[in-house]
Symmetry: C2
Subunit: 195 residues, 2 copies
Amino acid sequence: MTEFSLILQNIAKHVHLTREEQDYFCSLLEPRKLRRREFLFLEGDICKYSSFVNQGCLRGFATDKNGTEHVLSFAPVDWWIGDIYSLVSEKPAILSAQALEATEVLMLSRYNQDQLYQNVPKFERFFRIIIENSLVANQQRLIDNMSLTAEERYLNFCKKYPTLVYCLPQKHIASYIGVTPEFFSKMRKESISRQ
Amino acid sequence: MTEFSLILQNIAKHVHLTREEQDYFCSLLEPRKLRRREFLFLEGDICKYSSFVNQGCLRGFATDKNGTEHVLSFAPVDWWIGDIYSLVSEKPAILSAQALEATEVLMLSRYNQDQLYQNVPKFERFFRIIIENSLVANQQRLIDNMSLTAEERYLNFCKKYPTLVYCLPQKHIASYIGVTPEFFSKMRKESISRQ
DNA sequence: CGTCTATTTGAATGTACTCAAAAGCGGTGG
DNA sequence: CCACCGCTTTTGAGTACATTCAAATAGACG
């Protein structure tokens, strides 16, 4: 039971690694601890890391020209987070990631990730699968945003992330489903009063 | 100059193939011609193919519970289209794909794609990159839908797909940017009258 | 040329937003 | 451990953006 057991389990869901591959992989990881409200990366920076959440929780969000923040993802324990745009293009990140509580991540640099692809091709498969799943989730969210009401999106969120609903500030859930905190408050009250 | 030159060029953007690998890859492709309005795949079917557009153009869309269609992607020449959810999960497709004009595609079955991954690992990389790019585009669209007005999304669309704007029916562009055809018509008129 | 589909126009409506202010809650320091 | 300050949530009124429904007009394909 080391600090790497969770991430190795995460990988084992999709590809099998030998003991040596496991050790090699772990040697490429950089642990980092974040305090509540601390940022893992900031919009505008070049994001060079994919990070795995070992403990705690983060939010990934974009800030629009009015300064309004839009949450794109929550990253609780056992999730990956990064700015895929910046990672792929090596241009400044579109997203920021902030710890919502005391958080511990394992960071894999893009350079090490590319090394990994060359030395252990299985990882090419692993990250392909991770990205495929992200794409599916993202696409479903796009469909939901176009076809569901705010309340339906909220109920979806409750079903999909039952544990998160009770530990996240409402304003972040509001932002995730794409409404203002004020509207979210009213809608939620309505929703509860009807059961 | 064969029917495969375009797809080989498409692949060469990301990975280099030997002559033998090219031939092997092409042997796995199944050409198919579609008439205007014909469907490449239908919501509810198991989607077993990723398809490359050699000629023509398709739209990928989801149908909501009211019967309203929501366009998720246009696939002009040199693009890939498929229902990634169905391909990954082997469950019924969420999307349908319809030819907007006479169209020719090269279809790669999931089975052959998996063969390809095993026999030519470079393809694992190729499709990882394709999917990464889709994810980036999808994510940006999600951000745009949450932070921009319909008019801003329309102007974005015009910049991003200058050739498509003039050949697609308005109602499909309206659906893509996420508004009704009626509102799109009014908004567009306003937008033009202000230059 | 005729029919079917797409686009435009208008009026009434609804969903969600903005701004402002009060109330509630929770983390941090004393 | 408690109290306070600051952040979060609630509430309300007025508004804006986009929808619905209906009908007229325009355009395209066979």
